[in-house]
Assembly symmetry: C2
Homo-oligomer: 496 residues x 2
Amino acid sequence: MTDYDRLTARFTRIATLGEASSVLGWDAATMMPPGGGAARGDQLAVLAGLAHSLLSAAELGDELAAAEAAGEPRDPWRAANLRLMRHAYVRATALPRDLVEAQARANSACEKVWREARRAADFARVCKPLDEVVRLVREAAAALAPALGLSPYDALMDGFQPGLRAADVVPVFADYERFLRRALPLAEERQARQPAPVRPQGPFPVAAQEALCRRLSERLGLDFNHARLDRSAHPFSGGTRTDVRITTRYDEADFAPAVLAVVHETGHALYERGLPPAFDRQPVGEAAGMATHESQSLIVEMQACRTDGFLSWLGPELHATFGGDAAPYQPANLARLWRRVERGFIRVDADEMTYPAHVILRFRLEQAMVAGELAVANLPAAWNEGFSELLGMQPPDDSRGCLQDIHWYDGAFGYFPSYTLGAMAAAQLMAAARREVAGIDAALGRGNLSPLLGWLRLRVHGQGSLLGFDDLLRAATGKPLDPRDFEAHLTARYLS
Amino acid sequence: MTDYDRLTARFTRIATLGEASSVLGWDAATMMPPGGGAARGDQLAVLAGLAHSLLSAAELGDELAAAEAAGEPRDPWRAANLRLMRHAYVRATALPRDLVEAQARANSACEKVWREARRAADFARVCKPLDEVVRLVREAAAALAPALGLSPYDALMDGFQPGLRAADVVPVFADYERFLRRALPLAEERQARQPAPVRPQGPFPVAAQEALCRRLSERLGLDFNHARLDRSAHPFSGGTRTDVRITTRYDEADFAPAVLAVVHETGHALYERGLPPAFDRQPVGEAAGMATHESQSLIVEMQACRTDGFLSWLGPELHATFGGDAAPYQPANLARLWRRVERGFIRVDADEMTYPAHVILRFRLEQAMVAGELAVANLPAAWNEGFSELLGMQPPDDSRGCLQDIHWYDGAFGYFPSYTLGAMAAAQLMAAARREVAGIDAALGRGNLSPLLGWLRLRVHGQGSLLGFDDLLRAATGKPLDPRDFEAHLTARYLS
């Protein structure tokens, strides 16, 4: 047994523990009775602590050094795996245990207060706990930065999308901001000239919605021999590669949120299902970061399933499911309903054109907080100023402003850019897929994702973490991340 | 921090890992898509391996020795906890790791073959894998015996019901066998003179059965803020103290299996819910073994819910749920249906009077196999001879004989006696409760378990593992296990 083999066995154990946590996390959001919450928190903490101990073990460090000294493996997968093992070990050992525990406590305390503060639209209430969270995040970033050879903010972002640097993101976002200032008024103008969309009239029984969502997810390629669809307060995708679990929520008055969430989560799930089995439970076999993951949900939801072709297949399906007046299910009406540009205060409700503005604002503010240039007490003012500068509207209160997202209050800094980089990558991948594979759109018109999915399996899913975000895009599309494909997509969909 | 405190922290971690395994086990039986099975096996194996490492750690052994050297804690709970910690440590360290892993592999392989063998009624097919399982069980028993100061078979039984010895069980079972030879023909004769029971005519929609089962379980005292009711191939009770999960299966043609299983599993769940919170995740806070656990399911199912009183409340509830002809829901008819003595080949279908005969047979055969006095190849013949000797019938094939239960084929030897000792303990506890608490039966007539439950909370549930099986019975009923209360219960119910 070589040192490399010993390392793969260690990482298999660590990943298997992670799978257990993932299923327990899914259960907590979908099945667990409320009284089980406290014990579940303990269970997840013990598993996380054990996984961290296994990952930061001195013996693992020794084996890593020995494996590296033996020279880079000739097989590129094994070489990448070894590099990713080192990366994981460096991240795990860079943070003192006390700091990790202090962060867990501070994040959990702040998140609780945030729920009340958001309900009451009262930022003052959560200012102090958030200040403590930011203080510890800065401490963690300062500890990670030298270990990784990165700036503090990049060290945080690297935790969500390895390889991503603020210096690469800044010009991409600047380019998009220029595009948006020009395109958004044009899109609004064009939209105003079109007939108003008609909303299908419910009620839409939950059981019928749920059966439809499952059929749709299966139709898109999810194998329910290895998947489940359940309900939760917020849609998510979890579980493991051979047992993915997606969720949605149902509103009897409107089926759209459930259906669109399932399409989105199916994209995430298809990615997990397509990861390379030969490197199961190894770092190189994992999904290539959060931006890549989001690209896979958005290529299914935004690029594929909101096309004219797919809507022309979906409309009759919806009408057959829910009955009633056929007019609202006409593809052209569904397109007007679901491809609508609308400035709003809430990120998760935003359309695909304005969504990046929400992300750009958060990216700038969180960089400033991590750099110590923006005090937490000044966050609401900075938010409102930045929002109004980007979208020309003043949030009426902090619940519709800096209190809306859980991320910062739970200690997640450096995550937000992934959403928009994922949206851009989705457009770039879709353009490349259309160039390489004939009949993608014709198939979408028959409700058939498989030509696109086949290409994604090959170019993205099956690549695991071999290449990382930018090199994956380069190999699949011929260039690194480039916002112009996304802008071209929006131009075609909203301006022409 | 004393050594005792350090030990409690270690045992808390170990128990918390066990909780994670319990939820994952529940998920595997209720929710998991089939394709997740292989990965789930790995997850449970990693968790079991980690729990075993934590429990057999040399540091834990050192702390244990130091805590014991400091003298027995004055508080009896802490004293018992320390003793139980030693017991768990001895069991965990007595078995070589290689043997544990060989057992896991052999059991899993044998169980797979057993499923086919049972379907085909072909014992020859599973003879060799079972032989290997028995060989390893004997090796494990031989390793455990000197460490625990017990005989090999007692060392196995101790793993299911600590403190139980074959020498105590043998006379109890001999006494029951004598009772059965006399009582069974009399009960059959008396039954033959009664009108035949009328079976309610379905179909009984699953949704209505499920809603009824949940209402019934709640009515019996289960708080669904800390519980769930789901479906599985075989009913069971799992989860954790603050999040218990019971299951049942539904048959549209007959509601009885689902309802009676839920009542049974509710008894298990109420026990878990009533364990002492002050010793949560400590050995002394756990349920006092499998026989005690079975006593709690059977006191609810057999002793309380099949009484005339409870049936007089339940009959109208059932009729209100399912409608149709009222006659089959008359309490007297339900009593004839659900309190029926009938010799049969299958243990899990047996009535409460003949059930112990099934257990006595297995107890004798497994002792002989562990002692090396019965070769696996001779098991079918020994089974058929023993069965016919006890119940006067020859199993027509091995599927209705020695292939019917999973236990042995999965490596569980020493478990079977718990079922009947639990049934006997349930009768003994019920008799004591009736002596001590007024109005138990009157309340059952109103569908109200709480007077009985209050007594069980105090005398059994809240005692955790402070006393163990026999001392618990002594404290609660004034005497150790005594089959005569069970025999008196059967005499009253089936002979008078």
